[in-house]
Every structure is written in C-alpha cells, then in structure tokens.
C-alpha cells in the first residue's frame, strides 16, 4: 500500500431527496499513486464531481457518503465499521476539524471548473492566492505575499508583481485558470483534484493550460485526479484512466490500453463520438439516448439500454469488475463480455431499448 497516495474503495455517495435516493456515486474504486495523473472520465451526470467532493468530504446535504473507504497517505478520510448490521464511521476517521486543517488545501487541493466563478470578485487576485498559501503553509504575511507572486510567475502570468493587485474581472478566462492553478499549487498539496478545469476555456488556451499542468506536475511532483468529459484531454495528459458511467466505473486502465485496447462498449462509444477533423458531423457516432436517472438506474448493466452490444443477459446480470489484462491486474472492465456468465449464449437485446425499467 505504500506506493498508493489515494485509495478509494467501493465508495458510495447517495443523495436522499424527497423523490427518492439518487445514487450519484454507487461503489467506485480507484487509486492514485504519487506523481501520477489519473483521469476520471464520463458524461455529465456520471457522478464525477460528487466523487471528488466525497474525497474532500464536502458533500452537501442531502448528500451523504453511505459506505466505502477513502485512505489518503495513511489517514482515513472515510471509513466504516459494521456493527449490528449497520455501518458506523470508524474511529480513526478524521474529524471535520482535522479534515479542514490537515487535508483540505494542505494535502489535497481542488481546481474548479469555471475560472470565471472560482475567484472572489471583491478581492485582488494576489490576495486570494496569498490567503490560501498563508492558511496552508507556515509562512509569515510577507513571505506568503512573495510566494504568491512567485507562484503567479510560475504559472505564466507576466508582470506578476503588477498583476498581483488586480481584480479577477481584469483577467481573461485562461489567466484566471492559471491563477486557480497557482492557488492550488501554492499550498504545496500532494494531490490536486482538477474538476473539469479546461472545459470553460477555448481550445488554444486549453492546450496551453494542459502544457502548463504537465510542466508543473513534473516540477512539483504533485499527483492529479483529472476530472473531464473530454477523451482528448485524457489522451494528452493522463497516465491512467477511470471511465465512469452512472455512478460506477466501467473501465479502468493505463491510457494506452484504454485507447488502443478498449474493453468496454461505453468507452468505445465515447471514443467514437470525439469530433475529429477527418470526420463530418454526420459521420460522428454519438451515443444514443441520454443517461438514465441515477435515482432509478436500469437493472443489470447500467449501460445496456444504450449499449450497441447489449444482449438479453445484460438486463439481468450486474457486471463485476473483470480483469481484462490477462491477469496482470492493470486493466479492468465492467462488461460481462469478459466473463463467463452467459453473454455469448444469450439473445441480442432489442425492443424497448431506451425505456426505463419499471
């Protein structure tokens, strides 16, 4: 376990709404090793953001982490013990105050999606970088200011001393995203969770930011969890990828295997729906339908109503995580094609393709 920085095991985060339980994250497991960029990919609503806020223990009401374990560098962020058939939080689990002091910002930092919304409009950019640095590192006010300017320079903001006193509205989207990266890196965390940080940017700026992140990652040796819906970004940046669909991870593995040796129909569908210069819109192969509600997920494999390869068995069998790397334990897929449970013998699934089960 020593070579794992973050380990998430069977994490479930549910939202208890008046209209029923939304299983936003329903049993996901993945790990992050030091110095690694791990992708978390999926459509909107797949539960990627809920997974990341669960790691920070910042899930808002009515959401609740109902089971699973999150271990970070030896401390237990989430852990449950079973007592009398009920799950009770384990004792060594960090208290809320400890989470705030030790983990948030200090060990794990988040970069949010929308650079326009993630900076407080009433304070200067520099003051905000300094606030986070001061809070999470033992630096005096003056040192923190210098460090903040240094971080702004490191993320490629020219004339950092002058721009330190400027306000967020005087920065462009790409510049603000750099500031957010400076804020996260300035705290010297061991892990940075990047929650779709380039989604709101145009493609040229996105490229620059990705390049910057790769450089800084090498320099600071920070691990990343990179949340995105963009397979292109994943290809450019990540070492390993987790593909999420409707609260579950459906495929997990090293980047090359995921791209060149795809083992799950959903990943395949995602890959073939990427716009490419050599294909027109008509030639694109979008995934049919929309993701069903996590309140009432389809029975069996959750992807079967939209899956081109679905067979009758898929509606019955809830797939486990099957090792698809010939026992090497690096690539996993949650598709019963790869297990001996009767997929190949069952009838192709047709009719009520997009209907919700009762």
């Amino acid at each position: 376990m020593t070579d794992t920085l973050l380990e998430v095991t069977d994490l479930k985060t549910h939202f208890f709404t008046e209209r029923g339980v939304v299983r936003a994250v329903d049993g996901i497991s993945f790990d992050v090793r030091p110095g690694e960029i791990v992708g978390l990919v999926g459509e909107s609503g797949a539960g990627k953001s809920v997974a990341t806020t669960s790691i920070m223990r910042l899930v808002d009401d009515p959401g609740q982490i109902v089971s699973g374990e999150i271990e970070f560098a030896g401390s237990t962020i989430v852990g449950f013990d079973e007592a009398d058939g009920e799950l009770v939080p384990r004792e060594e689990m960090l208290s809320n105050a400890d989470m705030r002091r030790q983990i948030r910002g200090n060990e794990i930092a988040i970069i949010f999606q929308d650079p326009m919304e993630s900076l407080n409009p009433v304070y200067s950019v520099g003051a905000q970088v300094r606030e986070f640095i001061e809070l999470n590192r033992d630096l005096s006010g003056g040192e923190a200011t210098e460090e903040a300017i240094e971080m702004l320079r490191r993320v490629g903001i020219p004339e950092a001393e002058d721009r330190y006193d400027e306000y967020p509205h005087q920065f462009s989207g790409g510049m603000r995203q750099r500031v957010l990266i400076a804020m996260a890196l300035g705290c010297r965390p061991r892990l940075i969770i990047a929650d779709e940080p380039t989604t709101a940017l145009d493609v040229t700026v996105e490229g620059q930011i990705l390049e910057l992140v790769r450089d800084l990652q090498a320099e600071f040796d920070t691990s990343f969890v990179w949340v995105t819906h963009d397979m292109g970004v994943v290809a450019e940046l990540c070492d390993r990828v987790n593909v999420m669909y409707l609260g579950k991870i459906v495929e997990q593995g090293p980047i090359d295997d995921i791209f060149y040796n795809t083992k799950h129909p959903y990943t395949e569908a995602l890959l073939s729906s990427i716009p490419r210069p050599d294909r027109t819109v008509a030639e694109l192969d979008p995934i049919e339908g929309t993701m069903p509600s996590a309140r009432n997920p389809p029975r069996g494999c959750r992807f079967h109503p939209r899956c081109p390869d679905a067979r009758e068995a898929c509606t019955r069998i809830d797939p486990e995580f099957y090792d698809v790397s010939d026992g090497a334990g690096v690539q996993y897929s949650a598709c019963i094609k790869h297990a001996d449970v009767g997929y190949w013998d069952s009838e192709p699934f047709d009719g009520q393709r997009l209907e919700q089960p009762p």
């Binding site: 920070m56 910042l58 009401d61 989470m99 705030r100 002091r101 983990i103 948030r104 910002g105 200090n106 930092a109 988040i110 949010f112 999606q113 929308d114 919304e117 993630s118 900076l119 407080n120 409009p121 009433v122 304070y123 606030e131 986070f132 809070l135 999470n136 490629g156 903001i157 020219p158 004339e159 400027e166 306000y167 509205h169 005087q170 920065f171 462009s172 790409g174 510049m175 957010l180 804020m183 705290c187 040229t204 700026v205 620059q208 390049e211 910057l212």
Partner: protein, 334 residues
C-alpha cells in the same frame, strides 16, 4: 506559447478599463461614484446628504452644543448672536415668542425663521435638530444593518435548523408593526422615562428583520458560488468564509437598503418624538419640534412647516442617493 498569449492580452490594457465589452462587470468605489456623478438626481441626493452631514458635524464640534440643547434662554441668544446680526438682538431672555419668519410682516432678520413658543431661535433649533436626526438615522440603521447581516448571513449560509430557528424568530419580529414594537420596547426598557436613545435602539432592532431577510436571500445564492466552494476546499474556516467571501459579495443590495433606511429611520424616530416616545424637551429635534408646534398650528403655522421641510429634504436626499446607488450597483438596470 503561454507567455506570448498573455503578452497580447496585456497590450489591450487591463480589461476593467475597457468596460464597453458589456460582459465585463465593473466593480469598485471609483466606478460607483463615477456612475452616481452621471446621475443628476443621485447627485442632488448626495449633495443634500453632504450638507446635512456637514451641518451636523459643525454643530457637533461646537463645544457650546450641550449648553445650547439644554435650552436656557441666554444660550439661545448666544446662538442667535452667531447666526444673525448682533445689532438686531433684543436683550437676553427678552426674545419675542412665536415670532413669524423674517419675510412675514412682523418678522425680524434677527430670527430668520422666527422663534418658538419659548422665544428660542427657530433656525438654530432646526440646525441642531440636524445632528439628532443624523445620529438617529445612522445609529439606528447601523444596528439594523449589523444585526440583520449577522443573523441573515448565518441563517443563509448554514441553512437547515439554524436557518429555521433564526428566520422564524426574525419573522415574528417582522410581523409586529415597527411603531408598536418601538413604543413597547421604549416603555419597557426605559421604565416609562422615554429618551431618544431607546427609540434609536428600538427602531434599529425593529429593522433587523428587513436586513436579515435581504442578506439571507443573497447569501443563499452566493454560498453556491465556486469561490466559496474553493475556500471550503482550501480549508478556510466557516467564520472566515462568511466574513471574507460570503458577506462582502452579498452586501451591495444591503448597502442600498441601508441608505434608504437612514431616511426611513429619521422619519420614524421623528414620528416617535411627535408621539412623545423619542426626543424629550428641551432637546432640539425635528419630531419634538413638530409635536410642540402642532399646538400652535393656527397661531403660527410656520413652526410646523420648517421642521417638516427639514425632514422632507433630508429623507429625500437619502432616498435619491439610495436609488442612484442601486442603479450604479446593479448593472442590469441601465
């Protein structure tokens, strides 16, 4: 690469200076003031406020104030000597009572606005009344503002049962008409010995709900902003998140409301004084002056008119400025 892109950006100058993009919302005091300068009615309101504040400050630093407000005759004559032509002054204590203003037939320029029922110079009393009104307006509004901001911000930020308890309490307070609330408060706290300070506190407390509800509604949306989430994710304490991130971003409408409410509190406290629950004689207060004057409505209507005008102009000043501030702070209304 990265550096090149940012360089071109810098060449455009800081984006805030462009301002015409439409989507770049300008912020800051300088911008707000510039906008108010371009708005004639708001500018007028600002001038009125400046005059009122200046007058109250001048009387405030006058060491004679305390003696003057006590209302002994010779003191008022001293004030007369400052404000009018000494050579016209009648002997101390001999000032004519209920003199009409100077432009009336029996008026004298020694008392430009006439005198009251005790022979005190009306202009002097009006001027000293400014100080009471400004004090009342600002202090009472501050009480409502601070109390309401704390309650509303906590309520909106934490939600859940905290919100329920605080807001139900606030709504209970809100359901009682402010005048009734203040009168009850004054009578209870002062032990039937009313004074303006009780009225000020009473009105301040009565206005807590207005501010609490307003800021809560803002906080409800601000707390969902990413920068609040980012602060939580960076391990900032709840208290600091409220103080540094939530409240400053929820404050603009509260500031507007406070400006408007300075006028409202002045009016309400004047009303209380009129009813005998506010300033007590011999304090020079506009409401108190009105209370006395209404007994002489037929004999000398001017005694009612002057404090009325003073109240009207002051409140109008704060209202016009408040409206202007609202327009300046709200980019949607052009």
């Amino acid at each position: 690469m990265a550096i090149g892109e940012s360089q071109t950006e810098l060449d455009d100058g800081p984006a805030g200076e462009i301002g015409d993009d439409g989507f770049e919302a300008d912020v800051g005091w300088r911008y707000t003031l510039r906008k108010i300068k371009g708005d004639a009615t708001a500018r007028f309101g600002l001038y009125v406020i400046i005059v009122v504040l200046a007058v109250s400050l001048v009387t405030g630093i006058d060491s004679n104030l305390e003696r003057l407000t006590l209302g002994r005759y010779e003191d008022f004559v001293l004030a007369e000597a400052i404000l009018s032509h000494p050579e016209h002054l009648p002997p101390p204590g001999e000032t004519e009572r209920r003199l009409p203003p100077a432009f009336a037939e029996e008026g004298s320029w020694a008392h430009p606005l006439g005198t009251d029922q005790n022979g005190r110079d009306y202009l002097t009393r009006l001027i000293y009344g400014t100080q009471v009104s400004v004090f009342v307006g600002i202090v009472a509004t501050l009480i409502g503002l601070v109390g309401g901001t704390i309650i509303g911000a906590i309520s909106g930020y934490y939600g859940g049962w905290v919100d329920d308890v605080l807001m139900r309490a606030v709504e209970t307070l809100y359901a009682i008409p402010p005048l009734v609330l203040v009168i009850v408060f004054t009578v209870f706290v002062s032990g039937n010995d009313p004074d303006i300070i009780y009225a000020v506190f009473g009105v301040g407390i009565a206005f807590i709900p207005v501010f609490a509800r307003l800021i809560r509604s803002r906080v409800l949306s601000v707390r969902e902003m990413d920068y609040v989430e980012a602060a939580r994710a960076a391990g900032v304490k709840d208290r600091d998140i409220l103080r540094r991130h939530v409240i400053p971003n929820s404050f603009a409408p509260v500031l507007v409301l406070a400006t408007l409410y300075i006028g409202v509190t002045i009016l309400i406290v004047a009303g209380l004084s009129f009813l005998g629950y506010g300033a007590q004689p011999p304090t020079a207060d506009w409401g108190e002056m009105l209370r006395v004057a209404h007994q002489y409505m037929h004999a000398n209507p001017w005694m009612s008119i002057w404090p009325g005008i003073a109240i009207l102009v002051t409140i109008m000043g704060f209202n016009l400025f408040g409206d202007g501030l609202q327009d300046a702070l709200d980019p949607r209304i052009k």
